[in-house]
Assembly symmetry: C2
Homo-oligomer: 283 residues x 2
């Protein structure tokens, strides 16, 4: 079973295409203990609450930076968060934005899929095919998944990504490369396309559908970053993207929903936020 | 004292602009014990031999992928390798090719400079200024260093980096961005420019000199990857680059020199390889 199948199966089971970012910030975690215990317990409680209320999201995406900033304690917490996510049956996307020369990427792929046991990873495209190749080999041979940065959700994204090359934007060329690079692992190799630039997203969706590429998108940027989930769904539907393998990400909007709610029940607030995002998406 | 000063001082002290990559591959380390002990002891012995023979390089560059592939044991070894490198007075470049949205990059910067205690890091440019900004803040305020991928040494580099945008290559535009992004941390923010494309390297050096940018380059690709150290020095001199803050990297050519030498004295062979590379560079 490949990553695309895992996505599809989870969408059906959990009735959700929400990807829950899991990006710990100690100052916002209302639990005592050291970083390892605080972080792992925080996400364990959220996932247990979501599971018991039948509101598990469609995937979980820990960004490794937020764990690594707390050193070994943070990294040990990441191990536990991944284990808990697998226990409740969630696809695990390790957000790591890796990319290096071939043999180094091979070592990173071993880290991500071997050591961490992730189902999927995020990659940076600047170094070209041989830098993403070792990851894509795992997608081809072992059904792992990879999302390559295409049109990102941050303000500075356009600085390079929107440069014009003979009438086309750099992100359009990268989209073409993603289709090409992933052609032997169709459905397992996808693109990161931010919700903050709906016009660009629509263009890219049209392109992928035209190319008949079974393309899973990882869509960050809704909520705190300003993108609209309704608009994303409408674009995905309008352009004919295969909805069941898409994922719309929200991190702090779910993780720290309790702050806005003015409650100490962070797990309950997170579950409520997942429910609300499911409703907004309404695929 | 900023990163540029650290480079300059080390060049003077060690009479070397060699950067020694420290990229462990267990199969090639002729020592017993678990990964943590094998890796840390391997590099400790090399650095001790280099120190006692007054042949320390101008910097050390562990690529975190090679440690992370061995999980926590590998990462604990990285801690020890960095500690040893600091003990013998080497600038530590953590090769991590990081880059994410602002708050995530801030967490990565905390990992790299705070937790690992590196002096410098490598970064990917695709996500734009706000993705490198949190690292550059450390360069501006705390004298840390950062090299941004510009024209990399791998075969696939040209796929995106050599795309033409209104008569200029993407890597030329990235070079301009690096100068702009690093303008408040001059000398601490540099570029990764591979030795495998000497024509591109010469062009970039000319550009940096024209811009009067005090630009430290990290130059991979000599040795195993096919670039020539003599040619690099000749380009650096000809274009008027400030040699003392440049670094030419060799990883496996130094690390596993013992294999070619047909000896078990890996530390002695590594020291000999550093000496030879110093001679080839002859700045």
């Amino acid at each position: 079973m490949g990553y695309a199948d895992l996505l599809r199966e989870t969408t059906e089971k959990n009735k959700s295409i929400v990807c829950m970012g899991a990006d710990p910030v100690l100052d916002k975690i209302p639990l005592k203990g050291g970083p390892e215990e605080q972080i792992s317990s925080f996400y364990e409680q959220i996932l247990e609450a979501a599971s018991s209320e039948n509101t598990l999201p469609g995937a979980i995406k820990p960004n490794i930076a937020f764990y690594a900033q707390y050193g070994f304690e943070g990294l040990r917490a990441l191990k536990k968060v991944i284990a808990k996510a697998k226990e409740v049956g969630l696809p695990v996307i390790l957000d790591a934005k890796r990319g290096d020369i071939g043999k180094t990427s091979a070592a990173y792929a071993e880290e991500v899929f071997g050591f961490w046991g992730a189902d999927c990873v995020t990659l940076a495209p600047y170094m070209g095919q041989d830098s993403v190749g070792p990851f894509i080999k795992w997608c081809e041979e072992k059904g792992k998944g990879a999302y390559i940065l295409n049109r990102t959700s941050n303000e500075g994204a356009k600085e390079l990504q929107n440069l014009e090359i003979e009438g086309r934007k750099l992100y359009e060329i990268v989209a073409e490369k993603i289709v090409e690079w992933g052609s032997n692992a169709e459905g397992n190799v996808g693109a990161v396309v931010g919700a903050t630039s709906p016009a660009e997203m629509e263009e890219l969706c049209k392109f992928f559908v035209e190319k008949k590429a079974k393309m899973p998108l990882l869509i960050p940027g809704v909520g705190a970053q300003g993108g609209s989930a309704e608009e994303v769904t409408s674009i995905l539907k309008k352009t004919g993207m295969d909805i069941a393998i898409q994922r719309i990400n929200s991190s702090s909007g779910i993780n720290f929903a309790y702050e806005k709610e003015g409650t100490t029940d962070f797990a309950g607030a997170a579950v409520k936020a997942i429910k609300e995002l499911n409703k907004e998406i309404d695929f």
